[in-house]
Symmetry: C2
Subunit: 145 residues, 2 copies
DNA sequence: TATGATTTAATCGTACACGATATATATTAC
DNA sequence: GTAATATATATCGTGTACGATTAAATCATA
């Protein structure tokens, strides 16, 4: 019987470490652009769909306003995005890409793709991991208790 | 050709999200004990090997002193661990489990195991994911550039 | 239409996480 | 034996991340 209470055998730790590695890897790519890794995720979301409310953005990224509000504020200060309070419903704040974010999109995503490719991850491996992680998340979210 | 520049198709995001789910799940278990998830990882490491230096602990957990020093200080304030500067080499600080951490080990790990089991993760799935994540980490760490 | 409930963001407090710097102790070279 | 170097930890500044609270706007309904 294997000992499951060791650090090495913890799935949670493997995921935690892998997230840390991704963070480091992406940070090294994004630093020159003056972006952090979570800020890049915000741009990814906005490149897909521009002009979403803070709440919608939070739902896409699984982040609350306590995280997003200051983060978007910093991104606005760095000319990546712009906040605009809705006229129809003044509770809502829409987030829009700034020119800089549109202009630099190609250059940023190219650099990211280049570094990811340098890791030599097989497509099959990539997709299988995605699928398994999604299945795992589903189980964690849907568990009773 | 699939679009790889969407949030949904990013492996980094899947890992980031899964780490977040684990964090939430473990937080819900550990809160009653007055522990955070990273603090639980520290205990896991010390339950395996007690009396290690801060540096060694950092190597096990992939954390620097900028993270560990304040964290261990908090854990000391809550009677989980004790710091003791080495007599032989006063640069080193050894971290020891306190009685509380030894006494509550079973009760904490039981509760964690119980919740993990409630997620219905198959052993095969668990081990395959571990193996794949470790392989991925290796690739990210060993990449050239 | 007044009021109570809901929704949306902002704010606050706590806790990581990291890179850079500082400081004190050990080790090495000479 | 002293100067240069290396090592171990602490501290600082910035940036997430989260839960709880607050505040303002909107909605529901009596």
């Amino acid at each position: 019987m294997k000992d499951f209470m060791t650090l090495k055998n913890q799935l949670c730790f493997a995921v935690y470490e892998t997230a840390g590695e991704f963070n480091k890897l992406y940070t090294s790519v994004l630093q020159p652009f003056g972006l952090t890794y979570p800020q890049y995720l915000v741009l990814l979301a906005l490149w897909e769909q521009d002009g979403v409310t803070l709440k919608e953005l939070g739902e896409k990224l699984n982040l609350g306003t306590g995280t997003l509000t200051p983060m978007v504020t910093r991104m606005e200060a760095n000319d990546w995005v712009k906040k605009q309070r809705s006229k129809e419903d003044e509770r809502k704040v829409y987030i829009y890409l700034q020119d800089k974010a549109v202009e630099e999109k190609q250059s940023i995503t190219n650099k990211v793709a280049e570094v990811i490719q340098s890791c030599q991850i097989e497509l099959e491996e990539y997709e299988q991991l995605m699928q398994q992680l999604n299945a795992l998340q589903k189980k964690m979210r849907e568990r009773k208790i």
